[in-house]
């Protein structure tokens, strides 16, 4: 998100706001102080002090602002200026001690900058001024006119010092607390902003997820419709060709018809493979209880390839050991078993007197172990990796589409299972599959 503000930028923007607001306030206060000085001058005609010192103080502040606009030095200058105004008023009223309160007013005003360090120049000025004049009075230098009181005792000085320090400390503390509070608020605002961003992103993600799911469903539905419309004429063809077969005893005709049937079946098988592939990759995983015995019965009955007529009938043996309920995607498991068993039938060993395919299912709480073993022609070592590739057929004479084992592998992966192939050419092939129990 390019426009996403960083924490630092929000923080700096806020600080700038505080500074500007405080500066505006400061303009009013400083003018007020200057005018107060002029007001006080009425009492004892101290015009030179009021105009001179007052305007010099304002000059100091504004000139620092202009000279060093980037730094906050001018704030420290303002702190000192408050102390100077205090001294000015005391002098103008010829030692009116109450004017010392101006320092406390200044201290409170400084809180607006939310910087406790600004208290320091003011505090220093007050303490140094007290101390030095008190000392001068003490040693008898009597040309000091800053207080009407009898000279400042040490006790007085200490008490004043402590009380003044307490006031400055508290103002500094509030400035600090204010800053901390505001920083926390900035953080929270920033976090909230981020959180909202995240929520929006999540929503967008969920939305796009939903859209994907929808388009997947639509695509699958499309593939299904298309495949159905493709298969209908094929089945009609197969039916009519079957009639032809029944209507002739001519071996030439019968051979031709067999070839036609083979091609049709091949095409049909290919369409089914496409449909299986589409379903596997697009549909969401279903969670159903799987009854393997029933499933295997169905698969056997509906095997997509029943073998050519010159092949022997393959014996399908099934053993199912159920322990606990097993949940997974029925459709995909059907596809897996269908493809593996069809392959075993298709690729039976013509030399074997007793071709079989054995299916063992072992269900446990965590997974189902499926073993599909046959005594067919086997797969050579170099081909064992390649057979899982899309459209890979071992030889041109292979009858399959080349998609079968690819679909099996994809389906197993979709169900988060593992698949292992063991085969020896001429001996037979074994597929070992482990599928996790999806509702354990």
């Amino acid at each position: 998100m390019a426009h996403q503000p960083t924490y630092q930028s929000i923080h700096d923007a806020f600080l700038l706001q505080v500074k500007h607001k405080s500066d505006r306030l400061m303009n009013y206060f400083l003018v007020g102080f200057f005018l107060a000085g002029l007001l006080l001058a009425i009492f004892y005609d101290t015009w030179l002090i009021a105009a001179g010192v007052g305007s010099l103080a304002l000059l100091a502040y504004y000139s620092t602002k202009v000279l060093l606009p980037g730094s906050n030095t001018y704030q420290y200058v303002v702190s000192t200026v408050f102390g100077i105004f205090m001294a000015q008023y005391i002098y103008q009223m010829h030692g009116l001690f109450e004017m010392h309160f101006i320092a406390f007013i200044g201290s409170a005003i400084l809180v607006t900058y939310q910087n406790w360090k600004l208290q320091i120049p003011l505090a220093l000025l007050v303490i140094v001024h007290h101390a030095s004049f008190g000392y001068l009075q003490y040693i008898g230098y009597d040309k000091i006119y800053f207080t009407q009181l009898d000279y400042m005792t040490l006790q007085t000085f200490i008490i004043h010092g402590i009380l003044a320090t307490i006031v400055f400390f508290i103002c500094g503390l509030w400035a600090f607390q204010l800053k901390k509070l505001n920083e926390r608020m900035i953080e929270q605002t920033y976090e909230m902003g981020r959180f909202q961003e995240e929520e929006l992103q999540k929503k967008a993600l969920l939305q796009s997820n939903d859209n994907l799911k929808k388009s997947n469903r639509e695509l699958d539905s499309f593939v299904y419709s298309v495949s159905h419309d493709l298969r209908a004429p094929l089945s009609s063809m197969l039916g009519v060709v079957g009639l032809c077969e029944m209507g002739t005893l001519d071996p030439f005709m019968q051979k031709n018809i067999t070839l036609i049937k083979t091609s049709i079946r091949k095409l049909d098988g290919f369409i089914i493979d496409i449909l299986d592939y589409s379903r596997n990759s697009r549909l969401e995983i279903d969670h159903q209880e799987i009854h393997f015995s029933d499933l295997l019965t169905d698969v056997s009955n509906n095997l997509k390839f029943m073998g050519t007529d010159d092949q022997k009938k393959v014996d399908v043996r099934t053993t199912v050991r159920n322990g606990v309920p097993f949940y997974s995607d029925k459709g995909r498991i059907s596809i897996i078993l269908n493809n593996l068993i069809s392959n075993s039938i298709r690729y039976q060993n013509p030399q074997a007197p007793d071709p079989f395919v054995e299916i063992n299912v072992n269900v446990s709480e965590s997974a189902a172990d499926i073993l599909v073993k046959d005594n067919g022609i086997g797969i050579s070592e170099e081909n064992q990796v390649k057979v899982f590739n899309m459209f890979y057929r071992v030889s041109d004479k292979s009858i399959g589409s080349g998609l079968g084992l690819y679909i099996v592998k994809e389906a197993v992966e979709k169900l988060k299972g593992v698949l292992e192939l063991r085969s020896e050419i001429g001996k037979g092939t074994e597929f070992v599959i482990r599928l996790p129990n999806l509702c354990s």
């Binding site: 009492f43 000279l67 010829h94 009181l149």
Partner: protein, 199 residues
């Protein structure tokens, strides 16, 4: 670079302020210039009030020379007021206003918030040898000049050890030796007459 310049600049401003304070202080410390026609009236001289002040005869007289336009005089008001209240019974207090503008006695008395006779006769100043305000003049019961001088060493009455007028009163009643007053007491500072030239 800019920083150094700023520091120098601010120091300059500070210096300017210090100078202003010092200058003002210096001006404050200067004594009032003695007028050309000044006729000194020594201590102990008999002051002929000439009935210009409505005071009873046998008490000592304390005359306060006051100018409302003079800041030093204005500053002095509370102090004089406390003096007058304290010694009300023992001394007759009076105020002589030295100013070109017209004031009524009532106005002056309101300023001090005490009811004592007020005179606007500036010849009394010459009679007492007063040429600035505020000044204290203390006459004993026989109307001899006992003390004429400043109220305080520090212009603004902040040093109780140098409350000269107070000391004069005390010593008068104690009938002790008249204390020796230093130049701080006797050399008048404050505003000249009748218009303030020294601020």
């Amino acid at each position: 670079m800019k920083k150094i310049f700023t520091i120098v600049w601010l120091s300059g401003i500070l210096g300017g302020m210090a100078y202003i304070f010092w200058y003002t202080d210096w001006k404050y410390s200067l004594p009032t210039p003695v007028p050309k026609q000044y006729h000194p009236v020594p201590v102990g001289a008999h002051i002929d009030l000439g009935g210009k002040l409505f005071v009873s005869g046998d008490k000592p007289v304390f005359i306060h020379f006051f100018n409302p336009d003079c800041p030093c005089s204005r500053f002095n008001i509370p102090y004089f007021k406390s003096l007058a209240k304290r010694y009300r019974d023992k001394i007759s207090f009076a105020i002589v206003v030295l100013n070109n503008r017209e004031y009524t006695a009532k106005e002056i008395q309101n300023k001090f918030d005490i009811n004592i006779p007020v005179s606007f006769d500036s010849s009394l100043a010459a009679a007492c040898g007063v040429y600035s305000t505020p000044q204290a003049v203390l006459l004993d019961a026989n109307q001899h000049l006992y003390y004429r001088g400043n109220y305080n060493k520090s212009r603004y009455c902040t040093d109780t050890r140098s409350n000269y007028a107070q000391m004069a009163i005390d010593s008068l009643f104690a009938s002790a030796e008249r204390p020796v007053f230093t130049m701080y007491a006797l050399r008048a500072y404050g505003c000249g007459l009748p218009v303030c030239t020294q601020k």
